[in-house]
């Protein structure tokens, strides 16, 4: 585009200023309908870790991820993300916190009729005055960040296309670029590859691992497939009925460990394959 601003050089490819740690003490999340999603969960995740959260659907994986960025409120207990207590953080402070947390979703969650670039620029909302967003006036530096993020996931060439015209794998890359444009200190992924075919799923998991390794950002991802957890993450947390039933290294987690987490014997569909 236009002249790249000097600050834009510190784009998506430089390491995060400070990666965030997470600490949970007796964290309980109960929904309005009475369902208890998380029961007394206590966990410490260090800055820069690559963590997978494993469990059957309904085990509380999604609630765990969504509580970390305040999409789901804390019922009781404490949750600290980057020195901020989620139970008391609200309004402007909560938005600032969310601005530091990138998030990737199973269904990509792109505005289908908007361009790829406009979708990626959603990642800058926390750093943009509301009037600029309302008028659609993006600063050149913000656009530069978006272009760099798209380049880093290899789809800069699609930046003017309509998001809905892209394939599933490409859409998830746009979603990753959107999260990277936030220049996050923490990356959350809620079943990021559950809607993708095996080769694309591996590519997306590789992107996440690369973000963790080269940028040093803490990454927490939900997966329900054993081999993805083992291959791409270093630490695995197993959830069953809202409680932590496994917490240890991912690579050495045995089939028996998975059977204990799932509460049933291993089935062929628990593995993605190549």
């Amino acid at each position: 585009m236009s002249i790249p601003a000097p600050s834009a050089a510190a784009g998506a490819t430089t390491p995060a200023a400070a990666s965030w740690a997470i600490s949970m003490r007796d964290l309980t999340v109960r929904y309005g309908n009475g369902v208890t999603a998380l029961k007394n969960v206590s966990l410490d995740i260090a800055a820069g870790e690559m963590v997978s959260v494993v469990g059957l659907s309904g085990s509380g994986k999604s609630s765990l991820i969504r509580t970390i960025n305040g999409l789901v409120p804390v019922t009781s207990g404490s949750l600290t993300v980057g020195n901020r207590d989620l139970a008391t953080t609200r309004g402007r402070d909560l938005r600032a916190l969310r601005g530091g947390i990138g998030m990737i979703f199973q269904s990509f969650n792109l505005a289908g009729r908007a361009s790829v670039l406009d979708n990626v620029l959603v990642g800058r909302l926390a750093h943009t005055p509301t009037w600029r967003t309302l008028l659609g006036l993006h600063r050149p530096a913000e656009k530069q960040l978006a272009f760099e993020a798209l380049e880093s996931v290899g789809i800069l060439g699609k930046c003017w296309d309509r998001a809905s015209s892209l394939s599933g794998g490409q859409q998830q890359r746009v979603a990753i670029a959107r999260a990277l444009t936030q220049q996050p200190q923490l990356m959350l992924a809620d079943e990021p590859v559950a809607s993708l075919d095996p080769p694309t799923a591996h590519a997306v998991m590789n992107d996440l691992r690369r973000i963790n390794r080269t940028l040093g950002i803490t990454v927490i991802t939900n997966v329900h497939l054993m081999d993805l957890a083992r291959t791409y993450t270093t630490r695995m947390i197993g959830l069953r009925a809202g409680e932590v039933v496994y917490d240890g290294p991912a690579a050495s987690a045995t089939d028996a460990d998975f059977e204990a987490i799932y509460g049933r014997s291993i089935a062929p569909e628990d593995v993605l394959g190549e």
Binding site: L71, A96, M103, N109, G112, G123, L125, T128, T133, Q182
Partner: protein, 282 residues
């Protein structure tokens, strides 16, 4: 339903029905409910026709009185083409009123639509206020708006335009906010997760998927406006209606029929244009 076709079970084709014991689930109860609904509608319809409780619909009255209107219909069939030049300025005024009112109504409706939909306005009280006000706006007929506004701002196109804007806002907000409810919540969640304010989330994530419904309903309202602005003139609110009122007072049904023909042509043309645009919007 009850698998009349040979079931591809383990028995295969060699062993027919004797080897298979089909466990057919029991029929769901409550299949009579749609018939009761139809019966209720029928009974209500018959009651509304009856002289005691309803509108006293009577074929006899039609047979007795139809000749009173027959002469007027005969006149309507022979349009007075020489009247054409005099209809042009009011026709243009009608079109101007329709276009201006559509544009203004659409601009006002866009934020109101977002505020009236649950997806884009999670605040229940604010949403309730917007919806209630719009229900009231929609309950008042545009002719009544026009009559009051003519008294307030004087005869002419201006009261007509204001009446149409109110009429348009009621329709657009209702239809567009309903369309928003059926949109995907995912993009909004993503924008909220990125730290956007409510307004930012709506602008960046919701609005792109609102445009088609919004453009669609605005075009629909443009059609309505051409029709409605012909009626508004009856109370002095500008456009062709003023002329209709004038020729009707002098029983010039031949001139009236020319005006009706012109309205028909304009409505058809606008319909063709807007449906072409709508096809491109999908």
């Amino acid at each position: 339903m009850t698998t009349a076709a040979p079931s591809p079970g383990p028995a295969g084709t060699s062993a027919p029905a004797t080897a298979l014991t089909l466990i057919i689930p029991p029929r769901p109860r409550g299949r009579w409910k749609p018939w009761v609904a139809v019966a209720v509608v029928l009974v209500i319809t018959l009651i509304t026709f009856s002289p005691q409780w309803g509108i006293a619909f009577s074929f006899e009255a039609i047979a007795r009185n139809w000749q009173n209107g027959a002469g007027k219909i005969a006149l309507l069939l022979v349009p007075d083409w020489s009247f054409f030049p005099r209809t042009i300025p009011p026709l243009i005024e009608t079109l101007q009123m329709a276009v201006i009112a559509t544009a203004m109504g659409a601009i006002i409706s866009l934020p109101l639509s977002l505020w009236a939909a649950r997806l884009t306005n999670p605040h229940p009280v604010l949403r309730g206020v917007v919806r209630t006000v719009l229900n009231i706006v929609r309950a008042v007929p545009e002719l009544l708006y026009a009559a009051i506004l003519v008294a307030m701002v004087g005869v002419g196109a201006l009261p007509g335009i204001i009446a149409l804007v109110l009429f348009n806002v009621g329709i657009i907000v209702k239809l567009v906010s309903e369309a928003i409810e059926s949109n995907d919540a995912g993009p909004l969640e993503a924008a909220r997760a990125a730290g956007g304010t409510g307004a930012q989330v709506n602008r960046a994530a919701a609005l792109p998927d609102v445009w088609p419904a919004f453009a669609n309903q605005s075009l629909y309202v443009l059609e309505l406006n051409v029709r409605a602005s012909t009626v508004l003139g009856l109370v002095g609110a500008g456009g062709l209606g003023l002329l209709i009122d004038a020729v009707r007072t002098f029983y010039r049904y031949d001139q009236l029929s020319l005006i009706i023909l012109e309205i028909l042509v304009v409505v058809v043309v606008i319909d063709v244009i807007s449906s072409t645009i709508r096809k491109r919007l999908v």
